[in-house]
Symmetry: C2
Subunit: 452 residues, 2 copies
């Protein structure tokens, strides 16, 4: 197998330990031996050839973008090779007049927005990391703008995919809607590399809003912030972003970035629209917020001021990690129907506080999605146990409230049991049946989502 790969790819097939190790980990906290080799693909043909060789040798294939998965998607749990698509980074077609763009899978979201800057359009989906479009499609990613613009589920129009047999197929078209057969596009979006390798992605773009206004608002309690959010969603305010940061996160960010933000729970918001529309939304939200103790509204309309306000949100994860030297973060990812957000969140905050484990809390609360970052000492098994117990209680609570164990990170290695509880054995068995049918040799990122 390795000889065949070397013969086909030459220096673009690496077995160097450093390269393999870099491709054998991601942002999760699992320890697994690295893949046997890394192939640097530069074209769809490269990917197809690598998959065909892997199929001939029953060797697992793991697609790799920039390695920003939080759930162990990239780990070689059953050995095999990593196919690195980061060199497939061409923007293939900007169809500004149709509000679509087609890219290779290695293009990152920031690069994409740079490339289309002159068109007056933007691509809104922004997971924290500067992830690749291929990886974002594979994990059904979302982020802060999803409350207004949707997730990868709503924004991927079409894909090119290398199947488990090395065949190249296309799914979807550039038309905005279609009823033409099974929705293969959405089957691949969120399939976490287990059904094929995504080699092209066509996504929707949006006109840059005429006006953008950002605001932060402090609340005496998380509850006030959450109830404000619930109300704005229920009356249909078309807010573009509404993020919660808890007191812990504000404290950590103040220390890390030398800021002096009021150490209280806060909402960070952004409004997109016409100048008058933005003004109208802002007034409405301010009124809702003051009904729940919201105060110290601070507004920003220039890009520089907005960036300053959003610093707290952008730095939260990193500031969290830095707040406890040597710690490791375990991130939760539950998402619940909006009316249950307060119930789900407040009980979990209480449990986390009682546990004594350091943590921070940030959330895309407009979607009912939030992340606890438990900061644990990796050398203290007790702390890991505590974090897992808190996470279990949180997921059970979210599921009992009609929610999901993962709003945007994916199942990967860590949430397989949660998936069975959430979806039921019958639905997971249906996923397995599809997997077996489309990947009979079980070579596409095996051991992720479900055991098979």
């Amino acid at each position: 197998m390795l000889a065949a790969l070397k013969a086909r790819f030459g220096e673009r097939c690496s077995t160097a330990l450093a390269v393999r190790e870099q491709h054998g980990r991601d942002e999760s906290s699992f320890e697994v031996p690295p893949p046997a080799a890394v192939v640097f693909a530069e074209s769809t043909g490269d990917v197809a050839d690598a998959v065909r060789l892997a199929a001939e040798h029953d060797t697992p294939v793991i697609p790799f973008g920039v390695g920003s998965s939080l759930e162990g998607h990239l780990l070689a749990v059953q050995g095999g090779i990593s196919i690195d698509v980061s060199r497939m980074d061409k923007v293939l077609a900007i169809n500004a007049e149709d509000l679509t763009v087609t890219v290779q899978p290695g293009v990152t979201r920031k690069r994409l927005n740079e490339e289309i800057k002159s068109t007056g359009l933007f691509f809104p989906i922004d997971p924290g990391a500067d992830a690749t479009l291929g990886g974002m499609a594979a994990t059904r990613a979302s982020g802060t703008n999803a409350v207004r613009y949707g997730t990868m589920r709503e924004n991927v129009l079409a894909l090119e995919v290398v199947t488990a047999s090395g065949e190249v197929i296309r799914t979807g078209t550039r038309a905005k809607k279609s009823s033409a057969g099974y929705d293969l596009t959405r089957l691949f979006v969120g399939s976490e590399g287990t059904l094929g390798v995504i080699t092209e992605v066509t996504v929707r773009l949006y006109p840059l809003p005429e006006a953008i206004s950002a605001a932060i608002c402090s609340f005496p309690s998380i509850e006030g912030a959450v109830r404000t959010t619930i109300e704005m969603m229920q009356i249909g305010v078309p807010i573009a972003r509404v993020e919660l940061i808890d007191r812990n996160a504000v404290r950590m960010v103040n220390k890390h970035s030398k800021l002096d933000l009021r150490e209280q729970p806060m909402l960070l918001m952004e409004f997109h629209g016409s100048p008058a529309g933005v003004q109208e939304q802002a007034e409405l939200v301010q009124e809702l917020a003051s009904g729940h103790g919201g105060e110290a509204f601070e507004w920003a309309t220039t890009p520089e001021e907005r960036t300053r306000l959003w610093t707290a949100r952008h730095n939260a994860y990193f500031a969290g990690i830095q707040s406890r030297p040597g710690c490791r973060a375990i991130s939760t990812d539950t998402c619940v129907p909006i009316s249950r957000l307060a119930d789900c969140l407040l009980d979990s905050v209480r449990e986390a506080d009682e546990s004594g484990l350091p943590y921070f809390l940030v959330g895309h609360v407009g979607d009912g999605n939030f992340h606890f970052g438990y900061l644990l000492d990796p050398n203290d098994p007790q702390e890991r146990e505590t974090a897992e117990r808190l996470n279990h209680a949180l997921v059970s609570r979210a599921l009992s409230l009609g929610g999901t164990c993962t709003g945007e990170h994916g199942v990967g290695l860590h949430k397989m049991d949660f998936l069975v509880t959430e979806a039921g054995a019958g639905a997971v068995e249906m996923m397995r049946t599809i997997k077996r049918a489309l990947d009979p040799r079980n070579i596409m990122n095996p051991g992720k989502i479900f055991s098979i």
Copy 2:
């Protein structure tokens, strides 16, 4: 088989010819023998039992709502039984505070909106017919509001489904987003009854807009109307509805409904938002329209006035049929990227005019989707041939422009060849592989979407 069904369902299993014939046709123009029996299901358990009995006898199963399919989805092309779910018409849970509702599959869209009236919410998806939610999910339906609110693809959150083996599974949750495994919900949405029977549907609802304003605007040519539409989409006007009606349709509606609308192509529009927002959108659109010869803007803000303005659109199909007594309509359903709408539409209008076949044209043009209704004499094979030739030319054109053969009606019996051209043999083979895996006996609405 029939004995077993009779034993289980008694009078709720009918073999009366009139009942079978009613269930053996839809709004398409195919002639096929009716199903052998009709089971009137009243619960998920009924559906599961009927499917299990059918599986034991390798008998095809065809789910039936109100029979409003345009593509032959309900025809018993391989024999079998019809499962009528129209008695499964309960609204199971209105979660107004989460903007979701869960219904049985036999609830129609108008019934649903009646039931939730008092909540201040509405369900926007409106194919012309008063279709059932089950049927709308199965065909990935949309309609006039899709330009703002999306299609069934974006608005179905969760399903309960009876699989081909008679097992009951649930897909999705009420959370707004999720990355929990394969997107089974969207695999079933648009599967046209070929993978299972939908027995529960959870959809998103929206707050009724504070202000609604409707308008019609006449144009000297279709081109002016289309170019106005393209521009409003490109700059991102959040218009709720923008429908094109051609001169033929206006003429037919005038005659049918005794109206005196200006016999020119027109756009019918609706704006949703705050009073100021609606005003702003309307002014912007009026400016764009006058740049393309748009004139005779007529506005309506009360429900009664709006209904009057929209009469032309609502009656277009029926007025078309009535304009040629004894005729049959063949409806096209192409959808193209917005910038290609003028190219696709204008050439096809020219071809239709040259053919001499009577026709009308209506379109959800904001989505790039439109329908020619060719009005042919069913006893004249030459006319059917002409209609098929026009349709083929239109679909080929739409596909070459990056579009789809069906924006919202589904593939059914009529568009199988088009699907292969559009999606490619590899993608259709992947659909077949999924079908074989989930329905190994091929009993779920066999012979639709693709031959197997």
